[in-house]
């Protein structure tokens, strides 16, 4: 009897623990895109060597970036010929801070959802890749991207959209993106998004941490695969702080659900109205004939 009771308790306990575990997973869950490849940028570790810029240009067959530190004097944006740039900003102390910019590779990318021909396409592993041969050059991706990343080759007669592809081709071969593979200071860590988020929070919330208590990219635009931590305000690194936390493709989900209803409901409704007006005319016609 007691054995039976003990067995019952064991079973009940195990079930309860299982249920609790399941609930815990549902409540905290895996963050969106936890299993996707991602990069953690620790801006406190970046030394501004711009090796990432050089290797990026090489990997994408683009013109070599300007050498020397003079370019750090002004704020640069990514462009169709430089898919990543490092900028210098005032740090918390005497030392400056550097921030690398490139495509954020959203978990739910606005650009890829906006592309009507799926030239921009979210790959299962994380990269938002580009299929040049499909692109018709409508530039709706430039309209849609909340980070202002896709750039158009206006100068060319047969242009393409250019942006960081997270080295999708290298990743498909099992290699790390070019930039993360050359970073000498440990500012760029390539890994899985779920693990890197934990690592980012471990650093940010460590005892005596001087980091700003925020992981940029955890929630921005519904979550991005490039995550940033910093010890200066993110606005001070020219990061877009007005980007909404919600996923951008979700904004149009409602309106995109309407066409099936229009296509099924409009024709019978309009034909019904026609039937009424037609009948009314017929009756009016008959009455006109009968009354002298």
């Amino acid at each position: 009897m007691s054995m039976q009771r003990r067995t019952f308790l064991k079973v009940a306990g195990a079930t309860g623990a299982l249920a609790a575990g399941g609930q815990a997973q549902a409540a905290f869950g895996d963050p969106a895109g936890a299993g996707e490849n991602a990069v953690l940028v620790d801006t406190t570790l970046c030394v501004g060597c711009r090796g990432c810029e050089a290797v990026c240009a090489e990997a994408n067959a683009l013109p070599e970036p300007p050498s020397g530190d003079a370019v750090l004097g002004s704020l640069r944006k990514t462009s169709e010929t430089s898919l990543t740039v490092v900028n210098r900003f005032p740090g918390p102390g005497a030392e400056p801070r550097y921030a690398k910019r490139q495509c954020m590779h959203c978990v739910e990318p606005a650009c890829a959802s906006a592309c009507p021909v799926r030239a921009l396409d979210k790959k299962p592993g994380g990269p938002v890749a580009y299929h040049k041969e499909r692109c018709m050059g409508c530039r709706y991706c430039l309209v849609a991207c909340p980070f202002g990343i896709p750039k158009y080759e206006y100068a060319k007669a047969i242009p393409a959209v250019r942006k960081c592809t997270f080295c999708a081709v290298r990743q498909a071969e099992g290699l790390a993106p070019a930039c993360t593979s050359v970073c000498p200071s440990g500012a760029l860590t390539f890994g899985k998004r779920g693990e890197l988020l934990l690592e980012a929070k471990r650093r940010v919330h460590a005892q005596g941490s001087r980091y700003v208590p925020h992981v940029y990219g955890e929630h921005e635009a519904g979550g991005t695969n490039w995550l940033y931590i910093s010890d200066v305000d993110f606005a001070g690194l020219d990061m877009k702080v007005t980007v909404a936390d919600a996923s951008y493709p979700q904004l149009v989900k409602g309106v995109l659900g309407v066409p099936p209803f229009v296509m099924t409901l409009w024709p019978p409704l309009l034909m019904g109205i026609y039937a009424f007006s037609h009948r009314r005319q017929q009756v009016a016609g008959h009455q006109g004939e009968e009354t002298p």
Partner: protein, 402 residues
């Protein structure tokens, strides 16, 4: 078909029954001279754009990827083409027979408006030949995918509707008779595609809340675009029928055209829809918590100009004209309303776009000239067709039956 000889046919159908030299002489008008000058420069510019690229011919930037070719030719061209489905629905579906006389010109304007928009789009696309990818890739998460399909489908529907007067002109009974019978079905399709297309052009901007000024951005922008398309449809028909009765008066001889009745009826409808739109826009401001932006800075004032001068004013003028049976007032109101729609589309896609950027896009002269050329070609095509095909005048077989 009474085709005596091919030369006779050509003279009859193309040269309006005139001898070649006499016909050419009729073309020497000041209007044609201006139109020729516009196109003589505009068409080569259109080809130059494909040779030299967008950078050399436009002032588009990375933050302003859509300029006048999208903001004016596409957005406005489609909106002003809305008369085709508005009037088509009024006549074919709601049985409002008094608008029958303006159904065909409205459809023709719609068809030419769509063609103009498509040419503008081809000029704007970086690689227009890849448009066929729309049929190969299922980009169903994109509003632009919906827009693209609507453009394709509705242009075909308009083409079929226009095929009726076209084949009446050529005298091919075998084609125009079944198409006349299909007009009801085509009208149902035109309402269906238009309501999706007109609203989807607004939905394009929903994905970019931070970039479009809060007074124009709204999750309800698709409803605004649809309502303004109906306003554009009504107003365009008033403007057009006024112009047509002036320019093509000889074609309407012997027909019972109650222009006054039609215009006043449209004025009443225009007043109601514009008034509803005005209050819906206010709802949008409330919904977006954007009160604070009204009157603030240039765009805040500009929004007031659009809303008061080009929505509320024509609405009241429409109502006044309809009530006091003043055709003139209704026509002025319709003209202001049409300009208001143009202003709205240009504001959404150009003026209020990228509003936080201190350096703003100004179109290049080439962009403007190409747009002007497309409008000119549209007007020339309208006149060429109306002079030959039974668009304003009645088709030969129906006129004989009377």
């Amino acid at each position: 078909m009474m085709r005596a000889s091919s030369a006779g046919w050509f003279q009859e159908k193309i040269l309006l029954g005139l001898a070649p030299r006499a016909y050419l002489r009729t073309l020497l008008t000041p209007f044609n001279g201006v139109a020729f000058l516009i196109c003589a420069l505009g068409l080569p510019l259109l080809f130059y754009r494909f040779y030299a690229g967008l950078g050399a011919t436009t002032n588009l930037t990375q933050t302003q990827p859509w300029g006048v070719w999208i903001g004016f030719d596409m957005m406005t061209g489609i909106a002003l083409a809305a008369g085709g489905f508005t009037i088509g629905a009024a006549v074919e579906i709601f049985g409002l027979e008094e608008f029958h006389a303006i159904e065909r010109p409205a459809i023709l304007t719609g068809f030419l408006g769509y063609l103009m928009a498509v040419v503008g789009l081809i000029a704007d696309l970086g690689k227009p030949w890849n448009m066929v990818q729309i049929f190969a890739q299922n980009g169903t998460r994109s509003v632009l995918f919906e827009v693209a399909w609507c453009v394709v489908c509705y242009t075909c529907v308009l083409g079929l509707e226009f095929a009726v007067p076209f084949f009446e002109w050529l005298g091919v009974k075998r084609i125009y008779q079944p198409l006349r019978k299909a007009l009801l079905a085509l009208t149902v399709l035109s309402v269906m595609f238009s309501s999706m297309h007109q609203s989807a052009l607004g939905s394009l901007f929903i994905i970019a809340p931070g970039k479009l000024h809060p007074l124009w951005w709204s999750p309800w922008i698709f409803a605004f675009f649809f309502m303004t398309a109906v306003i554009a449809g009504i107003s365009m028909v008033v403007v057009e029928s006024a112009l047509s009765h002036k320019v093509f008066a000889h074609q309407l001889e012997g027909q019972h055209h109650d222009v006054t009745g039609i215009t006043l009826g449209l004025g009443k409808a225009g007043a109601v829809v514009l008034f509803a739109y005005f209050f819906l826009k206010l709802q949008g401001v409330i919904d977006g918590h954007a009160w604070g932006y009204i009157g603030q800075g240039f765009l805040g004032a500009w929004w007031l100009v659009e809303m008061l001068g080009f929505v509320l004013l024509p609405s009241l003028l429409f109502a006044w004209g309809a009530r006091h049976r003043s055709v003139g007032a209704v026509r002025v109101a319709a003209t202001v309303a049409v300009l208001g729609i143009v202003l709205n589309r240009v504001n959404v896609s150009i003026v209020a776009w990228d509003w936080q950027n201190p350096s703003h896009y100004v179109p290049s002269w080439i962009e403007l000239w190409v747009s002007l050329t497309l409008v000119t070609l549209g007007v020339l095509a309208f006149r060429w067709i109306v002079n030959r095909m039974p668009v304003l005048r009645q088709p030969a077989d129906l006129a004989a039956g009377h």
